[in-house]
Amino acid sequence: MATRAVEVVYRGIFQRTLARNIVRQIVFAARKDGKIGTAFGRYSDSPERNGIPAKQFAVVADTALELEESLAVYEATMVDVTINVDDTMCKGLESWAWYGLQPINEVTKPGGTLIVTSRQSADALLEDIHQKKDPYNLSIIPSTVSFSGLWVFKDDHTDMRALGAMCKACPELVSIKAMLESVQEQTGNEAKVASVQRAFDRGTSRPVEPGEGNTETPFSFDMPGWKTMEEGLVIRAQKEGTGFRGGEGGYTPGRSETFKKWSTRSMRPVINFDTCIKCTLCWLQCPDTVFDITPDGLYDANMEACCGCGVCEAVCPVPDCITMVGEPEFNDNSSQYDAWTADKDGYNKWMTVLVEKQKSETRTHGFHHVGGYAEEIAASEEA
């Protein structure tokens, strides 16, 4: 077939420019190979929301007619290459309510390639990435996640590296020669050309066998039809809560059954239950009613519901009582409170190591405390 497609899966707002750069550059480069293409974002992702998984696409064909044929389907259902620019999305994507959790490789075609920017190993990533029936390839660009904002772009060459890795993974889409020429022409920047070349040279991929990967079945929902939906554009309030996990004492709030949002997060709060003074602030300020109140008055963040915004960390008055920790450290949504009650010493050791590690790393986004931004600016000026 002479039409090929790439999807870039990115975090809304934070990585929008990054994704756009990648898909546009693919189309420019394809021109150099005498092909024609188009680049577009998924319309439903707009207006984009912070951190929500979103997609942009590049479709390249030998002829305009073939391109038109492939565009009869607006959103590609099969892509040659999936580029995931935040490895925490390997756990799956849930872009909107009722969307369910879509595996990151859902539309990667048999024999295609999933490219991920990550510091993790392929085996570690495959603990998160859902298994597929068909074989495909996994290629890793060793890199921290590149996050920017709506109006700013961190020009750290992540886009260039993704392009180089893509040319390696799928030369039929764009040749490295065309890519290098095109990047030179578009950016006039030798360093960027070198980044593309280096990523191409270093690019490796590993075959992933059918059935290899996370064996969990991702959650999904059946959307109601017009006959079963409530009329009048009405959405019922969430049900009232119950006692802690349905038992006596404490409180578990009602939450949306059809929009969990946890795939939105790239960090999660880790709580020190021993230093918590039960001030209620995290519970009160959390925008997603994530905290279950335990019968002993502590606050257990329910990871089925947390979007990772970091508000709880910012409002907690006790130093290091709540710390946002990068999502790659976790493989499930299990309760920290349960782990702590089962083995307090074990939990505290685990937590201390994580928190210390987190402090030693630069964050992708967000700040640990008020004033963090000013400190970061000052530090970067010194450096």
Binding site: W226, M229, E231, G232, L233, V234, R236
Partner: protein, 407 residues
């Protein structure tokens, strides 16, 4: 919200009132909770009248004079959401200024009743009647009814709440009243007694869709392509369901009030065996009926069909009424620049309604009475003659004719 229910009419009684006043009295009889207003001629006549009822203590309701038509219609939409019976209205470009609120009212399934005092759209500024203002809601899920007399204005206002608020419908209702001919001229109207109205019109109950602290819901969400077609289909179904509700309400109305045409949707005047049938809406009925009566007296087989409900459009009844005619002459008090044949909106609706028939009548269109210009008996005679000529020659020389326009 109204607390004391005033009893304006213990007994049914005759009054000499305008169409607007008739609608105002209907508001009182229906015990409307919230009325919003913003002045624009000719709709403002109803605003003045309910103001007087309120000042006199004859009718207790929340009267909100908004700062614009847009707010005027937003307010009734919200009031309707919390379970208040509502009334509002406007004319011409005022109605258009409210349009965002008007479209969401139907989208949200709020049974607001509005009087449109039909008025030409600016520019040029003009007070006279044209139907384009009200016509603009025809695709949006509003009931759209054209009134011919002050009596009908009162009767249909009562019907409007009954139909719009039916739990299986919940769609707003626009009552179109020709500016001047209805809004400013007075006629003898039989006002029903409060008891009759109470028997006919149950209280508005929004049920589980009501915005209330005891029924926590959110309404008017943002959705993507996963949902919109289902939502549109629901409104479509409500619009389909309303026909049966209209029929039922109409039957009960005739029973309780002792008047009304055989059909709620159309009025057939001397259509039996007619070879030429004129079709029109609103107060055009007056000169047309007179002309038809005279033509009949002269032995011509001519009839008049008045379309009352433009939405929902009773296609089957119209096919039935027009199917045997040789020619149909549609009188439009509106225009649709650049449309097929340069015809008016009603003409296109009729032509499309008759298209599936095996034997289709010849179709002619007359654009007449724009900006309140009078449509005379002579005009109607001219239309009939043109239709006769088409029948005789078997061909239509000109599909659309502008009537009585200086060249």
């Amino acid at each position: 919200m109204a607390t004391v229910k005033p009893r304006l009419y213990e007994e049914s009684k005759e009054e000499l009132i305008s169409g607007s006043e008739a609608v105002g009295i209907a508001c009182a009889l229906a015990d409307v909770d919230v009325i919003t207003a913003y002045p624009i001629r000719p709709y403002d006549t109803v605003m003045q009248y309910v103001s007087r009822l309120k000042a006199d203590g004859a009718f207790d309701f929340d009267f909100i004079i908004a700062e614009s038509e847009h707010s005027q219609f937003e307010i009734v939409k919200h009031a309707s959401a919390v379970g208040a019976r509502t009334f509002s209205g406007s004319s011409g470009v005022g109605w258009f200024y409210a349009f965002e609120a008007i479209t969401v009212t139907a989208g949200l399934r709020m049974p607001v009743v509005a009087m449109v005092g039909n008025r030409a759209l600016d520019d040029p500024g003009a007070f006279g009647v044209e139907h384009n203002d009200a016509m603009a809601v025809r695709d949006l899920g509003w009931h759209l009814y054209w009134v011919a007399t002050a009596q009908e204005a009162l009767d249909m206002a009562l019907m409007a709440w009954r139909i719009a608020e039916d739990p299986t419908v919940l769609l707003p209702f626009a009552l179109s009243c020709d500016g001047s001919f209805l809004t400013h001229s007075q006629a003898i109207v039989q006002v029903p007694s409060q008891d009759q109205v109470d028997r006919f019109l149950p209280p508005y109950k929004r049920g589980t869709l009501q915005l209330h602290p005891d029924n926590p819901i959110t309404i008017a969400p943002q959705v993507n392509e996963d949902w919109l077609m289902e939502i549109r289909r629901q409104t479509d179904e409500a619009m389909r369901r309303t026909s049966a509700v209209i029929r039922q309400a109409h039957e009960e109305f005739r029973e309780i009030f002792g008047r009304g045409d055989p059909s709620p949707f159309i009025e057939e005047f001397m259509c039996e065996d007619a070879e030429i049938i004129l079709v029109g809406m609103g107060t055009l009925a007056m000169p047309t009926r007179v002309a038809v009566r005279r033509l009949r007296a002269a032995g011509k087989k001519v009839g008049f069909l008045r379309i009352k409900f433009f939405r929902p459009f009773a296609a089957e009844e119209v096919q039935e009424a027009l199917g045997d005619a040789k020619a149909v002459a549609v009188i439009d008090r509106d225009y649709s620049y650049g449309s097929p044949s340069g015809g008016g909106v009603l003409f296109h609706e009729l032509r499309s309604t008759l298209y599936p028939l095996d034997k289709r009548p010849l179709m002619l269109n007359f654009i007449a009475g724009l900006g309140g210009r009078e449509v005379t008996v002579d005009d109607i005679n001219m239309m009939t003659e043109t239709a006769q000529k088409a029948i005789d020659t078997g061909k239509i020389e000109q599909e659309t004719t502008w009537v009585s326009v200086r060249e």
